[in-house]
């Protein structure tokens, strides 16, 4: 079972006081909304970017930009070098064995679609079964439904309990001789639940079934070690971890990536092309057709450097403090219920308020400068499971503070006051 890293009290204290200083790294945190200081609690949707990453993007555009892997001139050389250096940073960040196991994609959704097309369409046949969980984001449901429809395959779903935890025993019972693939989120975006994926991956492997992990909500908050997890694929997006939009990665075990068919055709993904026969390039280039978002990839590398400098362990410990504090405060409010209040979770709190629709909660909190997400969070099966149309979700980052949580709690009270008129 993966748990949040807990540091010694002394280390934690330094980590925490250090964290509050990090706010100054984020220019956007200084803006005002509705004439109040911004309280940004929508980090699960997209996080903010520190100055150092912004500067990196600017430096690239001002002094290093050209197309990569193409020309012999100076700039193309530098751009290629920096792009590949970013790949190596990602490789180290997730402890992948080889850098060619890291494919740049446009984000988690693109990564999952790559696996669906490259692996799924090649290896999944009629009557085969794909296991997904009830906690998945739509991006790890819809591609598999499209595949199931095309192939006549079947999707089986791992259920959850009232706390928003996967029922692992039920998962184990879903395996049979037709099971061909497992898609699993590391952390639920709607509820924050951390799933026991290491154990679940081991179970799948006992049945000879590969596992794709959607790590979009885990990579910003937890130390990821793909070799320790032994997952076959792992996907995440830069924009949820201080990086730019339009870039993410797919990690895949080399032998699996090699066995797969390309997803997109075009330049850079071939070694030779004639109208009679085209030979595909080696991995990872086989999966990187066309000119990639070079600046974004380099910015992603800078974001990884920034996060590693703070340390994922320190981030996890501090965010856990925020979670505990916020959960206590919100649980104590009458007329407010946390949805998915499980033990092992990242700093995400989904809640509903008696008689007040989340949309109204979001609009009124915005009047106090507070940004939360309201809606179904692209996870409608979870909403159905908890019998709610939508929730309000506060999701925290290491640059949030307890004082901001107090503002949120005050904001929730004032929403109740408005509706109590």
């Amino acid at each position: 079972m993966e748990t949040v890293n807990v540091l010694t009290p002394a280390v934690r204290q330094t980590a925490i006081s250090g964290m509050e200083r990090l706010r100054a790294d984020f220019p956007i945190l200084g803006i005002r909304v509705e004439d109040k200081p911004l309280v940004y609690l929508d980090n699960a949707a997209s996080s903010q970017m520190p100055q150092i990453v912004i500067d990196r993007l600017v430096r690239y555009q001002k002094t290093q930009h050209a197309n990569i892997h193409r020309a012999v001139h100076h700039l193309s050389g530098i751009a290629t070098q920096e792009y590949e250096a970013a790949r190596r940073k990602l490789q180290c960040f997730i402890s992948a064995r080889e850098e060619r196991e890291v494919i740049f994609t446009s984000g988690t959704t693109d990564s999952i679609n790559l696996v669906m097309h490259g692996y799924g369409r090649k290896f999944i046949q009629e009557g085969d079964e794909i296991i997904l969980t009830a906690l998945e984001h739509h991006s790890n449901i819809v591609p598999w439904q499209m595949l199931a429809e095309e192939k006549g395959a079947r999707i089986r779903v791992v259920p959850i309990n009232d706390a928003g935890e996967l029922l692992v025993e039920e998962y184990e019972k879903l395996f049979n001789s037709r099971t061909r693939f497992v898609g699993l989120s590391h952390v639920s975006n709607a509820l924050g639940s951390i799933n026991p994926i290491k154990r679940m991956i081991a179970t799948a492997h006992q049945h000879g079934v590969p596992v794709l992990v959607d790590g979009a909500q885990a990579a910003p908050h937890l130390k990821i070690d793909v070799r320790d997890l032994d997952c076959d694929f792992y996907a995440f997006s830069a924009h949820k971890m201080c990086g730019p939009t339009g870039i993410g990665i797919l990690y895949g075990k080399a032998h699996l990536l090699e066995s797969m068919q390309p997803f997109k055709g075009g330049g850079d993904m071939i070694t030779s092309v004639s109208f009679e026969k085209t030979t595909y390039n080696e991995i990872p280039y086989k999966f990187e057709a066309g000119t990639p978002p070079i600046a974004a990839a380099i910015g992603f590398g800078a974001a990884i450097d920034y996060l590693e400098q703070i340390g994922l362990d320190a981030i996890a410990a501090y965010e856990h403090e925020l979670l505990v504090y916020a959960s206590e405060q919100i649980r104590a409010l009458p007329g407010v219920r946390i949805v998915g209040d499980c033990q092992n979770k990242v700093a995400v709190i989904s809640f509903v308020m008696d008689g007040i629709h989340p949309h109204d909660v979001g609009t009124l909190l915005n009047q106090d400068g507070i940004a939360v997400r309201t809606g179904h969070h692209c996870a409608q099966p979870i909403m159905q499971r908890f019998n709610v149309a939508a929730t309000s979700r506060a999701s925290f980052s290491f640059y949030n503070t307890k004082k901001e949580i107090d503002t949120l709690v005050e904001g929730i009270r004032s929403v109740q006051k408005v509706f109590a008129q």
Binding site: H357, H359, D360, T363, L364, G375, H376, A389, V418, Q421
Partner: protein, 159 residues
Amino acid sequence: MSLKSIYQEVILDHNRKPRNYGALRSPSHHATGHNPLCGDRIDLDINMHDGRIDEIAFRGESCAICKASSSMMTNAVKGKSFQEAEELIREFREMLVDGIEKDFDHLGRLKVLAGVRDLPTRIKCAILPWHTLHAAMNSVAGATTEADDHEDQLVANNH
């Protein structure tokens, strides 16, 4: 008028005590309105006789702005002819969506919803019941907020 005061005055009143809330026993026209972005959904029943809205009722799961807009709409169109109701839908859209600057005094109480114009993310909540009314009167099964031009969407829904 500040946003909070909109919430306090008319909208909250209609949210708490929605008018014409429920179902008609055997409606001559019905439509379901859906906002896929937030999951809001309303059902609208009408009884039309001789081209006039005799009875109207709505129900559903929605935010306060959508519920208040539905409630006020049902009050406003009850007893109106098909043409009068269509005219009101058009004017309401002009006020809220098209942002046309003109005098909307004749819209009466509906005018308080003009404040929603300052909340671009919530305009769809206020407009949904009106799309749904248009769909119901024209015997189209449903309406959605996810179409810029509701005429196109309604045609698409016919299939």
